[in-house]
Each structure stands twice: as C-alpha cells, then as structure tokens.
C-alpha cells in the first residue's frame, strides 16, 4: 500500500506526526512552568513572541507594584488577606524571591502603595491566566 501514497500530500501526515511528538511528555509542564516563571510555559512550546509579551507584561506589572511600595501578603488574617495572598501566589517564583529578599512594603501608608498592592495581586492573576493559556496550547485546545 505504500506505493499508493506516492504523490499524495504529506503535509497533514507530517503535521500530525509533529503534533504527536509535541504531545509526548508531561502534559502539565507548561502550566507549572508558566506559573513559576512568567512566560516560561509559552517558551517551552516555542511560542517565543507570545511568551516574551506575557513575561514583559506580568513582570512589568509586578515590578511597578514593588516600585509603588506595594505590600506582599504574607499571612491570612481575614478574608481579604486570603484573597490577596492567593493573588500574590499566582506570581510563582517572583513572589518567593521577593519575599526572600524582603521586597515590598510591610504596611500600606500612602495611596500609591495601595495601588502597588493591587498591581502585585493582578500580576499574579494575569500570570495564572497566561499559564492556563500555555496549558491549553499544550493540550491542543487552542492553536
């Protein structure tokens, strides 16, 4: 039957084979990598442009929050603190490194620090969205 394939379009077969190869390995790796390091999930999938833009956006928002003396949530004393901490944890290693080096303010004393706190939380939420997008690309739900 092999001779009958001569002259037939081979692109679909090649793309299917390439897709099959890309489907090998740990499915959740782009999701976890994208959560830990902004844009890393897309880099793993060779989406360099999208990954760079996502990394720049999340990093830019996080750094802007720190520059504005935003607060990094460290404990869960009430429901708002729990929500803030959940958002901050979305930043992955950015949050851990910032906590280790003591970045961010302990207390919000000026208005801009309040904005900075929101910037940091939203950076984490945006990073989670980006990581889920990388997972969707990995599973083929999105192209």
């Amino acid at each position: 039957m092999r001779y009958s394939q001569k002259g037939m379009a081979t692109t679909p077969n090649n793309s299917a084979a390439a897709q099959e190869v890309s489907q090998q390995g740990f499915v959740y790796l782009p999701l976890i990598a994208g959560w830990l390091v902004p844009g890393a999930g897309h880099f793993l999938l060779r989406k360099w442009g999208r990954g760079s833009l996502l990394a720049a956006s999340v990093l830019g928002m996080f750094v802007t929050g720190l520059v504005l003396q935003g607060k990094l949530y460290s404990g869960a004393h009430d429901i708002l603190d729990i929500l803030g901490l959940a958002g901050d944890l979305g930043n992955g290693l950015l949050y851990v490194v910032s906590r280790v080096f003591g970045l961010g303010a302990d207390l919000v004393q000026v208005t801009t620090a309040d904005w900075g706190t929101r910037f940091i939380v939203v950076a984490g939420l945006l990073n989670v969205i980006a990581a889920v997008d990388a997972h969707n690309l990995r599973t083929g739900r999105k192209s």
Binding site: L54, G60, T64
Partner: protein
C-alpha cells in the same frame, strides 16, 4: 506616579495578556488587546466623572 499614569500602565499590561490569551490569531489578538485597553481607560475616565459629580 499620577493616578492616570497608573491607569494607563495597568490597562496596557492587562490588555496585552487578555489579547494574547483570549484570541487565536495575531490579528484578533491585537484587535482584542486594543479593545480591552480602550475599555479599561475609557471606563476609568467615565467612572471618574461620575464620582466627580457624586462628590459635588
């Protein structure tokens, strides 16, 4: 940093992420990103005027 500059930065970063993650093709991404940016900034300006008149 002024409040408006913070709004612009917030809208820019959020719009880039929304555009890339919520649409399939690059053209659609750019269009949706611009759409989100305009909505972010426009709604901030509109709500600011609303609050201005409420405070009077």
């Amino acid at each position: 940093m002024t409040h408006f500059a913070a709004v612009l930065l917030f809208a820019l970063f959020a719009s880039v992420v929304f555009g890339i993650t919520q649409r399939e093709t690059p053209r659609q991404m750019i269009r949706y990103g611009i759409y989100c940016f305009v909505l972010f900034v426009g709604s901030a300006i509109a709500l600011s005027w609303v609050m201005f008149f409420i405070a009077r």
